[in-house]
């Protein structure tokens, strides 16, 4: 079976070329295709213009608009509403069932495993951000937890003085001085142009994507990703419920909290000037 990665993307075009050589009506078909493409482009363009929020003229409102950094608010709100609907009817019930069915210690172990499995991505980002001490921490965490921690199920590294720290490509780019770009709400949650690109890079940095086909590890990768989503959601059941109950505009509240948190995270990484040699060595 030919999969997407092995070139099924290319097949329709190759087929089309073959048809052109064989059939005389290809010009007609091309015309129809061209019209379709043009129509799509026009639709996209008109769609995009209504996706941008009008820039306010009042100075105070303008200052607020700039601080929110959300020119694509109408589009983002649509995505937010869709995500929240999906969450309400699918993700939240599954996460609740997960909490109901799986006891806390087991969930903690699964959480440890998910964190450990992501450690390579954190490591590469620590290196990218030029923070050797942090990179050392994540490297040691990966080595200890994958062996002594039974594949990450037990966070032995934390007990040994190497607690987990977060990092991702969005934060690495922030440390390089790349600004966040406009805010975006993506299906996986609040983001920005920079953090969205970072999300893609992080997927590439995860070694689990390079597992050869045909092994059980591919199924493991799927299970791991889905588990990560459900587990992540289950950790925020009460927070998100409270937010949806108490916030008058949950979209704006999430946007504000996200932007502040990302800024603080990037600053925390920038200000981490610990010595490269661990304490016990000195």
């Amino acid at each position: 079976m030919i999969s997407g990665r092995n070139g099924s993307w290319l097949r329709p075009r190759a087929q089309d070329q073959h048809d052109q050589a064989r059939e005389g009506s290809s010009v007609h078909r091309r015309f129809r295709l061209g019209t379709l493409c043009l129509g799509l482009v026009l639709l996209g363009a008109t769609g995009c213009s209504s996706m941008k929020a009008p820039v306010p003229t009042d100075p105070d409102a303008l200052a607020e608009y700039k601080a929110a950094n959300d020119p694509y608010e109408p589009l983002n709100r649509k995505m937010f509403n869709m995500t929240m609907k999906f969450d309400k009817w699918a993700l939240r019930p599954v996460a609740k069932a997960y909490v109901w069915a799986v006891p806390r210690p087991v969930r903690n172990s699964l959480g440890n495993m998910i964190t450990t499995m992501n450690e390579p991505s954190v490591f590469f980002n620590d290196v990218g951000a030029g923070k050797p001490r942090r990179a050392g921490d994540s490297f040691v965490r990966w080595c200890i937890n994958m062996t002594a921690g039974v594949g990450g199920l037990i966070d032995v590294a934390k007990m040994a003085g190497f607690p987990h720290h977060d990092n991702d490509a969005g934060l690495t780019m922030a440390n390089w001085g790349i600004s966040s770009g406009p805010y975006l709400f993506l299906p996986m949650g609040p983001s920005s142009f920079r953090d969205g690109i970072g999300y893609g890079i992080d997927q590439g940095l995860s070694p689990w994507d390079y597992v050869p086909r045909g092994y059980g590890l591919v199924s493991f990768n799927w299970a791991y990703n889905m588990m990560g989503v459900v587990h992540g959601r289950s950790e925020h059941l009460e927070d998100l419920d409270a937010l949806q109950r108490d916030a008058l505009d949950p979209y704006a509240t999430i946007r504000s909290a996200y932007q502040q948190q990302r800024k603080a995270q990037a600053e925390a990484i920038r200000n981490d000037r610990r010595a490269t040699v661990p304490d016990w060595y000195q």
């Binding site: 105070d60 409102a61 200052a63 607020e64 929110a68 108490d246 916030a247 008058l248 505009d249 979209y251 704006a252 509240t253 946007r255 504000s256 909290a257 502040q260 948190q261 990302r262 800024k263 603080a264 995270q265 925390a268």
Partner: protein
């Protein structure tokens, strides 16, 4: 020799005293902020961890919060640019509603914080406010780091903001309110009725 005349020495001593006083001021303010958070925090934790029913804890915590939190100041901040355009009646009603909303938000959390303890870290000054680092420890949960922002607007130290996981509570709240008002035709009245609805719902659920 005239350099060391009596008047000059007196003046120099005075200047030095003033200067040392000025240098000592920030340190004293930082100490004040630290002591204030230490005492407020200890009193809060004592109530939270006391073996009395939740309803009693809420009653006990109320005067403490009203005294040590600048609720009116936070309310003004949260209304943002709409504070200028709100009528005096609207401002008064808003402050009354906000007072209740904030106190509910604090007292609702009391039950969750059973067994809590805290340690206070450094104090940093920015503008007229002090930021006091604190680490909260709750049973079976990872320690949470937060900053308490202490202001002196009313002549005494009062909490004006709390920053948890990098997000300022008052700024997040202001963005929530501003966005809501803007999406309801810049109407402060819409915010007031929404807050009233929120309070009614809260009272129904607790009764």
């Amino acid at each position: 020799m005239r350099l060391l005349s009596g008047r000059r020495i007196v003046l120099a001593t005075l200047a030095l005293t003033c200067a040392s006083g000025l240098f000592a001021l920030p340190a004293r303010a930082a100490d004040n902020a630290k002591q204030f958070i230490q005492s407020f925090g200890t009193q809060l934790v004592a109530i939270v961890n006391s073996p009395v029913p939740l309803s009693e804890k809420k009653i006990k915590v109320l005067p403490l919060v009203q005294k040590n939190v600048d609720i009116d100041g936070i309310g003004r901040y949260c209304l943002g640019r709409y504070w200028k355009i709100a009528t005096p009646e609207q401002k008064q009603r808003y402050q009354a509603l906000f007072h209740e909303v904030l106190v509910n938000a604090i007292t609702d959390k009391l039950g969750e914080y059973r067994g809590v303890s805290f340690t206070i870290g450094d104090v940093t000054r920015s503008g007229n406010e002090d930021s006091v680092n604190a680490i909260l420890t709750r049973p079976q949960q990872p320690p949470a780091s937060m900053q308490w922002i202490v202001g002196y607007e009313n002549g005494q130290p009062q909490v004006v903001d709390v920053i948890g996981e990098g997000a300022s509570l008052r700024l997040t709240q202001r963005n929530d309110y501003s966005s809501f008002i803007a999406r309801n035709g810049d109407s402060v009245a819409a915010l007031l009725s929404a807050l009233q609805k929120q309070l009614d719902r809260h009272n129904q659920s607790t009764n």
